[in-house]
């Protein structure tokens, strides 16, 4: 990991130099803003710059209201200067393509539900890079609308939201394409990362934790991938809705624990691939509603209330080569017709045998427990969780199944957990 980070930083430096190159070769100028030294303001300096100039802002507290960048520019913080919106203004508005924002602390943006002010907001711009900033206590952290080829990288985005309506999202992307959201750390916002109508984008190595609603909220955003992210302790986990062709690889969904919390909530999703993720200690690992043709492969479901909840509206999904370990319920469903395939998973509750030693149990496994079926019919029955009456019913059901769907079955349960 350490080497990787160095590598990336190195690359990043190269990119910045590379981008600066035409500017350096041409007539581009470098401007310095240092309020402590000469009292110059950012706004006045910006007014004097030409496209592709570089503005270096030195350490200090800058309270200049709304700063608009409307030409291609390298806007660089040196010594972590603070841009303070004093809870009144949107702090940085980027209204031009080819802008780089790097190395600022941006805090105290204004608050408003009509115009959604952000710490940094990008309006209809391409090739904007926002990197290495600290965003603290803003309504929205970084807001991109109609952006293309933008990079949001290594920012630390913190807010202190208490109620869902009182706070915006950490990284909010709307009607955009080809974004790269990499290595950000987001906490305390409504949603950590929000995608709506965003295509062809990647979300990689971010950590979203303790956000009020979702760690990642994903809607109408086709052909995206999110890889190696950590979503931990968010109010409702992660939601991916009304989307097709999403790749979800190698993410950790952890401790999303609460009445309506899910590790991963899938709603109206199709043709997607969920591979090698880790779901642990969530109320529900994956909740699926109206999902089609999804492959869930080589994931680990550990110590969740429910490993997977598959609603009757799901079809043609394949769940294979996953480990189900220590979940209260491995799987539950509200339907009786099963149109999804479970095959070759490891279930720690499986008690069958393997005479031919091929690591596949000779007896099929019914992952659906009677109690989970009853609870789906009548939620308050959960009240009887761990009561003997229920335990007795479960035992008798195991011997003579009567209420659980006969065809909800893993015909080739694995004898040993898969190494993941």
């Amino acid at each position: 990991m350490g080497i990787g980070t160095c590598h990336i930083k190195y690359l990043q430096l190269l990119t910045i130099i590379g981008l600066m190159l035409p500017a350096l070769l041409g007539n581009a100028k470098t401007w310095h803003v240092n309020q402590q030294k000469d009292g110059k303001s950012i706004k006045k300096t910006l007014a004097q710059t030409a496209a592709y100039d570089t503005v270096v802002v030195h350490a200090g507290l800058y309270q200049e209201g709304n700063i608009v960048i409307d030409k291609p520019l390298f806007f660089i913080g040196n010594g972590n200067p603070i841009l303070d919106g004093q809870k009144k203004f949107e702090i940085l508005s980027i209204k031009s393509s080819n802008v780089t924002i790097n190395g600022f602390t941006i805090k105290n943006s204004g608050y408003g539900t009509l115009d959604d002010p952000g710490g940094i907001k990008v309006y209809d711009a391409n090739h904007v890079t926002i990197s290495n900033n600290i965003l603290d206590d803003n309504f929205f952290g970084i807001y991109i609308q109609y952006g293309k080829h933008c990079i949001i990288k290594n920012n630390k985005i913190t807010a202190y939201g208490v109620e869902e309506q009182q706070i915006g999202n950490g990284i909010h992307c709307w009607k955009s394409d080809s974004l790269q959201i990499i290595g950000n750390n987001i906490t305390g916002h409504r949603d950590g990362i929000y995608f709506e109508f965003v295509t062809g984008s990647i979300i990689w190595r971010n950590i979203a934790y303790n956000n009020i609603r979702y760690g990642l909220h994903f809607m109408f955003s086709n052909s995206d991938a999110y890889i190696s992210n950590v979503f931990r302790g968010n109010g409702a986990g992660v939601a991916v809705m009304f989307t097709k062709d999403v790749k979800m690889f190698n993410n950790w969904f952890e401790n999303n624990w609460g009445d309506a919390a899910y590790g991963l909530l899938l709603k109206e999703i199709s043709d997607s691939y969920i591979f090698n993720n880790r779901f642990s200690a969530n109320t529900t690992g994956i909740y699926m509603e109206g999902t089609n043709r999804i492959v869930v492969e080589k994931n680990s479901f550990k110590e969740n209330g429910w490993g997977m909840k598959i609603q009757a509206s799901c079809m043609d999904n394949k769940v294979t080569q996953n480990n189900f370990l220590g979940n209260t319920f491995d799987v539950s469903t509200n339907g009786t017709v099963v149109l999804n395939e479970f095959i070759q998973n490891y279930w720690d509750k499986y008690k069958g045998y393997d005479l031919d030693k091929n690591n596949i149990g000779d007896v099929p496994y019914h992952p659906l427990s009677l109690f989970s079926v009853i609870v789906e019919m009548n939620a308050p029955v959960m009240l009887l969780f761990r009561s003997f009456f229920i335990s007795m019913l479960e035992e008798s059901e195991k011997i003579i199944p009567s209420l659980t769907p006969e065809n909800f079955i893993d015909n080739q349960p694995l004898m040993r957990a898969i190494k993941l």
Partner: protein
Amino acid sequence: MNRIIKFVMLDIIKNKIVLSYAILLAVLAWSVFSLEDNSAKGLLTLLNIMLLTVPLVSIIFSTIYIYNSSEFIELLVSQPIKRSKIWISLYIGLCLALITAFFIGIGLPLLLYAPLHIGIVFNITGFLVTIIFIAIAFLSAVLTRDKAKGIGMSIMLWLFFTMLFDGLVLFMLFQLADYPIEQAMVLITMLSPVDIARILMLLQLDISALLGYTGAIFKAFYGSGNGIIVSFLILLVWALVPFLISLKKFNKKDL
């Protein structure tokens, strides 16, 4: 200490059943904690053991003990001692002995292995469940002269509270599925000490998230500091009421 309590305690300690009860609980508790790598899981397993064995042993052992003490009671009644003193001493003696067994068997490992607040709540709940079922045993023993009938009644009561009651609750939940009965369920669970104990302890394990909306209502009641105290008080009432009824009956009983 009151001489009769002392005598009863010594007599029970000499009795191998209580000793084996303590050992049984200890073996279960230690094996649960050493087998389950996850302490929350271990606690759930222990909860099940606790809610099954503790009521069973408490009620059956106490019922038999009272019947076997009939000579002792008769002897004492002809002596200058108040009847209520005999009965209360017998109760306290049994309670102390079985609580000690519970504490050695489950309480101590719980305090060592589980988070402190859970250990404390589990212990208090275990003590209360113990004295509740001893009280119920006193009631069924005083109601019938016949030993076999009395033990039968105790077993029935145990069955009722550990299993049948939940069956009735399940039946009711389905019958009244169309009505908002979550609030009422809080009251209904109070009709069974085993259910109060189970839900109280489940909520300590933060399992309430699994309970959904109903869980939220229960959490609001049983999970809050006041709720815990109120549930303890209700459990105490569950011990006191059967015992006081049995005391009243005993004071009028012909020996």
